[in-house]
């Protein structure tokens, strides 16, 4: 029986008030819906008390979906922070940036990922130089990089 069939049969029962269902589908991810059941007739499943939400990468990486964006890195200016070209970064705009964090900033109309330093954006690669704030007159701190994802071919 597929999860959908199972769910459907539960829903049918619900209409006749036999079962009570809780369906929780995590935000936008395609994992299987979780449901706990309380069927009044028959022998109760011994596992029913122990069903929990299956782990999802979404839930691990994203705290505030409304303010979270994904960006792909091109370049090696942050390699010593473990960020490689092609990595997908998780950017949370709702987190207030503080010094020492990796942030997404806007410099002269372009986005860049760097460490936030005292009045400067600091790369994690000796081949790049820091970007002082006062020189680039249009620097905006957009959000904090809270995670990174990489797939292997």
């Amino acid at each position: 029986m597929s999860p959908l069939d199972l769910l459907r049969s539960y829903t049918r029962k619900r209409q006749t008030n036999v079962a009570e269902i809780f369906v929780r589908v995590s935000n936008k991810s395609a994992d299987i819906p979780f449901f706990g059941s309380k069927v009044s007739a028959g022998f109760p499943s011994p596992a029913a008390d122990h069903v929990e939400v299956r782990l999802s990468a979404d839930q691990y990486l994203v705290k505030n979906p409304t303010a979270t964006y994904f960006v792909r890195v091109k370049g090696d200016s942050m390699v010593n922070a473990g960020i490689y070209s092609g990595d997908v970064l998780v950017v949370d705009r709702s987190v207030e940036p503080s010094i020492g964090q990796i942030i997404l900033a806007e410099v002269d109309g372009e986005f860049t990922v760097k460490y936030l330093g005292q009045n400067q954006l600091v790369p994690a690669n000796a081949h790049y130089s820091a970007i002082p704030f006062d020189e680039a007159d249009t620097v905006a701190l957009i959000g904090v990089v809270t995670g990174s994802m990489r797939k292997f071919p």
Binding site: L4, A30, T66, A67, Y69, F70, V71, R72, V73, K74, G75, D76, S77, V88, L89, R93, S94, L104, E106, V107, G109, E110, F111, T112, V113, P123, H127, Y128, S129, I131, I142
Partner: protein, 431 residues
């Protein structure tokens, strides 16, 4: 009890979405064009200042746009829809009662919040939305939806308000002064046509309308205009609709990228539009009793032969089955199609929608076949929702989509496609 209602909307929504992901656009005039790059549907303030009008056909602005370096973008609805959802869910945290009024605006019930400083509360909304999405909004507050709309309008037009205007606690004289400066036609619900009729009766400004006799207004303009008069006076007549009522009509139409003349292409497009419309129909648990199909040539190409026609067909049994709806639509298309014309637009509409649950049983349709159709359509919708649009479709939609719309300058789907997410490149800061 006096109510307190806020209207929040995003400034130049589509342009602002584009700018949030492409900061370079912040320093130049930008417009977003409608489907098929036809007309201007969103303008940055700079583009407005250049005199580019809303809805203006793009080809008419092109020469001027080149001169001033106006960036014209194709519409990217996947992006706008996602950003809209983000804004709406941020705002939902500010009140237990929210009416999403359109893709870029919503009403919030703030009754009972009156003790709080509403300007500060509005500022919090503004700040959070900008921080979390990069989109600028304006907040207007009033005792009714109509006054909230007016407050929002004032906040948008006067820089000194800083995007925030609260009409719910200002003095009567002050409110009247603001309404006096506003034309009656600018009031929510009063269109250009009605504004002219009002003017003919000596009602020029929003203040005139507020002071008009409701009984007289009702007799001359009907009950909707009477409600507006009451709303201007602070009496709520148009309440928040937290759940959108099911639509009574569903439209699906597009302009073609290149004009088509052959029946095959038209039939494929009609099948596609009808499939989309039927999906929406099932999404709101309705069935359609009437369908309409139309096709037309370009009214802008005056040198070409013009033809447009439509056909409306009442259905023997109301249905939501894509197969039946498409069959009827193609039957109609065959009757209105004429060869040798260059068609630029086609569309379908579903009308007289009724709730599927309340559909009367029919003497000629066996309940069994209707159950099977429901099950089939549900399965198709589920597969398409899971595996991506058009995983399963009718073959008559065709596979060659050469007639599909032109989107010459569309931005990437930054938030809805892994292949197209924002790319952050190292700049020439290296040495």
């Amino acid at each position: 009890m006096t109510r307190t209602i806020a209207l929040i909307d995003v400034n130049n929504f589509y342009v602002s979405c584009e700018r949030a992901f492409n900061p370079r656009l912040k320093y130049q005039p930008v417009v977003v064009l409608s489907n098929n790059d036809g007309c201007v549907i969103s303008r940055s303030n700079e583009a407005k200042a250049l005199g580019i009008k809303m809805g203006e056909p793009w080809f008419k602005c092109q020469a001027m746009a080149r001169q001033y370096g106006v960036e014209a973008l194709s519409s990217n609805y996947a992006l706008y829809a996602d950003m809209s959802n983000r804004v709406m869910s941020i705002l939902a945290d500010f009140s237990p009662h929210q009416e999403v009024y359109s893709i870029d605006e919503c009403f919030l019930e703030l009754t009972g919040f009156a003790q709080k400083d509403l300007i500060a509360y509005g500022q919090l909304m503004k700040t959070r939305i900008f921080k979390w999405t990069g989109l600028p909004v304006c907040v207007g507050v009033g005792a009714t939806k109509t006054l909230a709309k007016i407050a929002n309008n004032i906040a948008k037009k006067n820089i000194k308000f800083n995007g925030l205007c609260n009409l719910s606690n200002i003095k009567h004289e002050e409110l009247n002064h603001l309404l006096h400066a506003m034309e009656a036609g600018e009031v929510w619900g009063v269109g250009r046509q009605l504004a002219l009729k009002l003017k003919a009766r000596g009602i020029d400004t929003a203040l005139d309308l507020k002071r008009a006799d409701p009984v007289y207004i009702r007799q001359s303009f009907g009950v909707v205009m009477e409600k507006i008069v009451h709303e201007l006076n602070g009496t709520l007549c148009i309440d928040l609709e937290e759940v959108a009522p099911p639509r009574k009509q569903i439209l699906s139409s597009r302009s073609f990228g290149d004009a088509v003349s052959d029946y095959q292409s038209l039939a494929a497009s009609i099948t596609l539009y009808m499939s989309r419309a039927a999906e929406k129909l099932r999404g709101q648990q309705s069935v359609a009793s009437v369908i309409q199909v139309y096709i037309r040539t370009s009214p802008f190409k005056l040198d070409q032969a013009q033809y447009s026609n439509s056909m409306t067909i009442p259905l023997p049994t109301p249905t939501d089955d894509t197969r039946q709806l498409v069959k009827m639509a193609l039957w109609a298309l065959k009757r209105i199609y004429k060869p040798h014309y260059s068609y630029v637009k086609a569309g379908v509409s579903l009308g007289d929608l009724i709730s599927k649950a309340s559909m009367p049983l029919d003497f000629f349709t066996s309940p069994d076949s209707s159950d099977r159709s429901t099950a089939l359509m549900r399965t198709v919708d589920r597969i398409n929702a899971k595996m991506g649009r058009e995983s399963i479709k009718l073959a008559s939609e065709g596979f060659d989509r050469s007639w599909q719309m032109k989107q010459g300058n569309k931005s990437p789907n930054y938030t809805t496609s892994w292949e197209q997410i924002l790319c952050v490149k190292d700049k020439a800061f290296s040495f």
